[in-house]
């Protein structure tokens, strides 16, 4: 079954930047008069292409994501798909009803009650009254705010507000759902609920979902196909794993080894500077697999004399800025000119995903010596055997190997 849900060909979008972004009567009159006298216009028009010749086809029932750096044109593309803005050129053909969640709680009015806002927002998302009536209890239940449904939403806590807004969004049931980064709201438990919902929507009812997200872990878990936009052009499309790995290695300058020859560019200050850092696993290759022990080697140079002993602090964050490790090494003598730090993290510690290493040097009396900042970023890949798109969503920060058996006995 290869029926397409959306087929886009030759989509471009241009904006006029600079002088004529907003028109003014004076300027138009001026250019009109200049035109009469054949003068060159004084205003410079700068045309900016937010999107350029985008072609893609999304099949029915597929979950796809658009990835790319800020300003790559992802949001512009979603707005065009949502029919909010018109493309400059190109045509998009689609089949089935479409609903877009470019933000949660569009149209929410603080003076209206939760109930009234559910209907208003639901209608804006394209549901009719009968559909909302049917889903109403499920929405309230999902948001967990039954007691407050007839209270004006201005009295809600921000958490309740977001939960109600998302609950409506989660119960829209179009053939094609467009989601822009809304997964980044709410607490973790609520996010998980939403992820499960998106998975369910696509797997059970064969709906098409189009996502934009910066969170590669989410994209990798949810999507089969990923489109990579860069400066308004579609530069890569294909299987989620492949595109994400490529995207991350380019966009984040993923290297497993950094060497700084020039002191002034190296992280650090006038006391200490980084000279090289490397991450590797026992199995040498392009990818770092999450099931293998990870070794981090780090070399530092002392620039000027430090009077005290010092200790190093190692911090590991994940892509969502959860602090996973914050650990101090033992005090060391500060008179030596070179330092080598070796860290070995066990395998099967964390999930696949993005990780950031931060490094700080602190004197024995607690004063700060050097903050190296983020010295390295690396991406852990799922071991090949486990890379299964049907594996359920997980929000655990850790991924240890441990015994977890379910015994099924008849009767």
């Amino acid at each position: 079954m290869c029926a397409y849900a959306i087929k886009a060909s030759g989509i471009s979008k241009s904006y006029f930047l600079g002088a004529q972004k907003t028109y003014s009567l004076k300027r138009d009159l001026q250019s009109f008069i200049n035109g009469i006298f054949n003068k060159e216009p004084r205003t410079t028009v700068h045309e900016f292409w937010a999107l350029r010749d985008i072609d893609f086809t999304i099949e029915q029932g597929e979950v796809v994501a658009f990835v790319g750096n800020n300003g790559a044109g992802k949001s512009t593309l979603l707005k065009i798909l949502s029919n909010v803005i018109a493309p400059t050129t190109g045509i998009i053909e689609g089949k089935g009803s479409i609903a877009s969640l470019l933000e949660v709680g569009t149209g929410f009015h603080p003076e209206l009650t939760g109930r009234e806002n559910v209907y208003l927002n639901g209608h804006l998302l394209g549901m009719n009254k009968r559909e909302i009536d049917m889903q109403f209890d499920a929405i309230i239940d999902f948001a967990g705010i039954d007691d407050f449904i007839d209270t004006p939403v201005k009295k809600y806590s921000s958490g309740m507000y977001v939960r109600l807004a998302f609950a409506i969004a989660a119960h829209v049931e179009p053939d094609i759902l467009i989601v822009d980064e809304v997964l980044a709201v709410g607490d973790t438990a609520f996010q998980q609920k939403c992820m499960e919902k998106i998975k369910k929507i696509s797997s059970q009812s064969g709906r098409t979902v189009i996502l934009v997200s910066h969170n590669m872990t989410v994209v990798e878990q949810l999507c089969k196909t990923v489109f990579w936009l860069e400066k308004g052009r579609l530069i890569e499309a294909g299987k989620a794993n492949d595109v994400i790995t490529k995207y991350l290695s380019v966009s984040h300058d993923i290297v497993t080894k950094k060497t700084f020859l020039n002191h002034h560019e190296a992280p650090g200050n006038d006391y200490l500077r980084l000279s090289s850092i490397e991450v590797e696993t026992a199995e040498k290759g392009e990818k770092l697999f999450s099931n293998l022990p990870l070794a981090i080697h780090c070399s530092l140079k002392r620039i000027s004399v430090i009077q005290q002993e010092l200790r190093f602090r190692f911090i590991l964050l994940d892509a969502k800025w959860n602090c996973l490790i914050d650990k101090y090494a033992d005090l060391v003598n500060a008179s030596a000119p070179n330092y080598d730090i070796d860290i070995e993290l066990p395998g099967n510690l964390f999930h696949a995903g993005f990780y950031y290493i931060y490094l700080t040097a602190i004197a024995s009396d607690g004063t700060f010596i050097t903050d190296f900042g983020r010295v390295m970023e690396y991406y852990l890949s799922e071991p090949e055997s486990a890379a299964n798109i049907d594996s359920p969503v997980t929000w655990g920060l850790m991924n240890p190997v441990f015994s977890f058996h379910v015994k099924v006995s008849p009767q």
Partner: protein, 281 residues
């Protein structure tokens, strides 16, 4: 679950079409919700709430009464001055509210328009419905003293004339929506227009026989007044309610034709520009 497959296309020039009746039927639930939102949100958290709806025209009528009837001593041709100004005041605010609501359709609702799609023309329509409901309440408030006056006065020439009232009110709605929608599109391109339009709106209130009857205007200038489609509407409304004078038939017909043309132009310009214009918000 089997759904009817609706095919759609998005093109650079695509718009939702200008068939208003089709749009209204298809989006009746959303329209309903938008009207409710405006109605509920309007006077919340004010001390006397919805009563402002009735106080506002009452207070302006009082003001006009003192200035124009007591100080300037405008001759209202036997119509009780207070009722004269009350009618003028509620009808004028009816016009100017719908006009502003349509004119600011894009600017005031920008946050919604940039996030979801629906035919943009629903906003001026919702504004018009909202203000028509408010006007309806104000009209009832006006009709009570009017009927009291009619019952004490033998001079009313017949209630049949009241049948013309809905036509006049429809004209006010269509004219306000039409001009408002035209301005809303131009205003996004030329922000300077906003101030000019605000000024013209204030000017229009004095250039229309609202605070004075057209009969006190010198005859050779009266023709210019008929160029303003609102003049015939306000004159006719007064004849209908108070039964004094005669219906300006030809000016009313011409005004009706102009109104329809402006409304159609407004809808056309608005629906054709609705997608492109989002880039200018």
């Amino acid at each position: 679950m089997i759904r009817v497959q609706r095919n759609w296309t998005i093109t650079p020039t695509g718009n939702s079409g200008s068939d208003l009746s089709k749009i209204i039927i298809q989006y009746k639930d959303l329209l309903n919700a938008l009207v409710r939102r405006e109605l509920t949100a309007g006077y919340q958290q004010t001390l006397i709430g919805t009563a402002w709806l009735l106080f506002q025209p009452l207070l302006s009528a009082l003001l006009y009464f003192f200035v124009f009837s007591r100080i300037v001593k405008v001759n209202t041709n036997g119509i009780p001055p207070f009722l004269f100004y009350m009618l003028g005041s509620i009808c004028w605010s009816f016009f100017s509210d719908i006009f502003s609501g349509s004119m600011y359709a894009f600017i005031h609702q920008a946050h919604i328009l940039q996030k979801v799609y629906f035919p943009r023309v629903l906003i001026p329509i919702a504004q018009s419905i909202n203000h028509t409901i408010r006007f309806g309440l104000q009209l009832v408030f006006f009709l009570v003293p009017l009927f009291f006056w009619i019952s004490t006065e033998a001079g009313h020439s017949g209630t049949l004339l009241l049948l013309l009232v809905p036509v006049c009110l429809l004209q006010i709605i269509l004219l306000a929506m039409g001009t408002g929608m035209l301005v809303s599109i131009w205003m996004l391109r030329y922000r300077d227009l906003e101030f000019l339009v605000q000024f013209i709106l204030r000017l229009a209130m004095f250039a229309t026989p609202i605070l004075y009857p057209l009969s006190i205007v010198p005859e050779h200038i009266q023709y210019y007044f008929w160029l303003n489609p609102l003049s015939a509407v306000f004159e006719t409304l007064r004849v209908c309610f108070f039964g004094k004078g005669s219906i300006p038939i030809w000016p009313l017909i011409i005004s009706f034709v102009i109104t329809i043309l402006i409304f159609m132009a407004g809808v056309r310009v608005f629906t054709h520009a609705e997608k492109k214009i989002i880039d200018f918000i």
